[in-house]
Amino acid sequence: MTSRSRFEQELPDLLADLLIEPIPYYRDSVVQQTAHMRQRPAWTLPERWIPMSVITLGRMTGRTVPWRTVGLLALLAALLAVGLAAYVGSRPRVPAPFGLAANGSFAYATSAGDIYAGDPITGKSVAIATGPEFDSAPMYSPDGRQLAFLRTTTGGYDLVVAAADGSNVRAIGQAPLLEADKWGIQWTPDSSGIVVNSFTNDDVRRYDVSGKTAPRILVTNAHVDPGAFRPPLGDQFVFIRDSTDGSSLFVADADGSGPRELLHFATGDVAGDGLRPSWSPDGTRLAFLKLRGGDANQARIDIMAADGTGSAHELTNEPGLVYENHIKWSPDGTRIAFQRWDNSSGQARIMPLGIQPLDGGSLVDAGPDLGAYGTEFGWSPDGSILWEIPGEPGSHHVLIDPQRGTWKDLVFPDPGGGSSWQRLAR
């Protein structure tokens, strides 16, 4: 029996040992309170078979068209459009939300809980958020103008947004995010909102970074993975919904309306890390994780057409019991970088990152050998570099040549809590 399975077998006793105590002191209080309460009659308590969801029906009403009002509004819209065009033309360009962009600053959090913006060429960095608070997980908006990060607070994390230079810092949202909610946090493609999984409530919600509107629930009984919004318009997003017989990929409009199932996976096909769907930068393909032959030790990245037609195919044909994970499309959509473990020996061994060209070229082993902690990695906005920082404490960033897999060190002071590369207009 492995130590891991022994731990699971011992866990009930460990928990009982830790937690079970003699009769709590408030037992008498509970009994006294209930002694003076009447029970509800049985007929007032219907059996719980009524669906919990509330179905609302919209109504169509017949109306005549107010043509004068329509005309005035159209004229006003035209005037606004002219003014807006003049205004927009005077502002610096921003990159499109998906695809290739120019490389900007490299934000990272230190192990001490500060945020810095570094220059990947010179290695110099400037402070963005320093002070007594513990900050982590910096994340540039797609237009490169804002920086979101997490600020540790009592009970969890505040979601904080600032300008890219660190000014105008403000917390958004209402309740602190919990540890599990950190997974899947992402900007909306138009950089106006941040989408968050709420695992406590089992829903996906959108926070308005301007703070003008309250957080809105997009879908329930669902969660998203990073890269959920579909290029090139970002007007749809993919989410995962678990059911009693497995998990399904759904697609909905950006406001959560019109959810429709794309694919269903039986429980035996779903990797322990979930489906992890990820769009290609042009939005025509979807990559996801799937167990090969139902073997929990072999998760492979599959790719299929984004509309669900045709059949999926595996990204690599690497031999052995390999567990692939963390799908990262290159910004030009020609390659996928991913993390992988070799389970052939019966003991999980993390391998260097893999980069697989999508034209059928050879798989590239990229970057250094990693310790047992896994790694954080991503593409530069222009797709020429793959950055990585191993999870082992004391590690520093490396920049990887994705063609050859070679790397060089990028030593920022005391990195340790997340990284993000700013996208700029080309």
Binding site: S3, R4, S5, F7, L11, L14, L15, A16, D17, L18, L19, I20, E21, I23, P24, Y26, R27, V30, V31, Q33, T34, M37, R38, Q39, R40, T44, L45, E47, G155, G156, A175, P176, L178, E179, A180, F199, T200, D202, N221, D242, S243, T244, G246, T267, A271, G272, D273, G274, A296, A299, Y323, N325, Q339, R340, W341, N343, A348, I350, A372, Y373
Partner: protein, 189 residues
């Protein structure tokens, strides 16, 4: 005591029978609530609320053999409600018992408890709830899903994450010199 019989009597308004049911269950409910909420006062509030609701709504319970599952559900939902709405507290209370029996190896037990307590602290209430229901109360996965009104797939994924997270904390200390396991990916069996 015959729990089935006690439930039948309590359903018909026998408060002494209900008091006996409280004695049979309150220690585990309290443990469950303290696991989920990590706060003794809030745990007390959650268990009190659950038991008050149980007394009040017991006539509606059709199958007395479902009493435990029903009561566990009331308790965990009370905990999650409190977790969502509670005021921020400056200190999270550790769960390590202070009155361990003198006949045991105290230093080893306390070290184990400390590790497990730390491991639980790294989970959020929703994950601790599935750990409590499945590992502390011994509920099968299907019942856990029903108690929390979530799909069984969600239960499985939360348990997988919770177990991996706790294992990484606890086993890393048990086996010095052996690299801790990654929380995501890797070997699942």
């Amino acid at each position: 005591m015959d729990q089935h019989g006690l439930v039948e009597r309590a359903k018909r308004g026998d408060h002494d029978a209900f008091a006996d049911l409280v004695d049979l269950t309150i220690a585990r409910l309290d443990a469950t609530a303290r696991l989920v909420l990590r706060d003794r006062d809030l745990a007390r509030d959650a268990v009190q609320e659950a038991l008050i609701r149980a007394w009040r709504d017991l006539p509606g319970l059709r199958d007395p053999d479902r009493f435990d599952a029903w009561l566990h559900r009331l308790t965990v939902n009370a905990c999650l409600d409190l977790a969502r709405h509670r005021r921020r507290r400056p200190v999270e209370v550790e769960l390590i018992p202070t009155d361990a029996p003198a006949t045991r190896d105290l230093s080893h037990d306390l070290a184990q408890h400390d590790l497990l307590d730390r491991a639980l602290r790294d989970l959020d209430p929703a994950h601790r709830a599935v750990v409590a229901l499945h590992y502390l109360l011994g509920m099968p996965l299907q019942e856990v899903a029903g108690a929390l009104d979530i799909p069984i797939g969600t239960v499985k994924s939360r348990l997988h994450y919770s177990l991996a997270s706790m294992r990484a904390t606890v086993l890393a200390d048990r086996e010095p010199g052996q690299a801790p396991e990654p929380v995501r990916g890797g070997q699942l069996a």
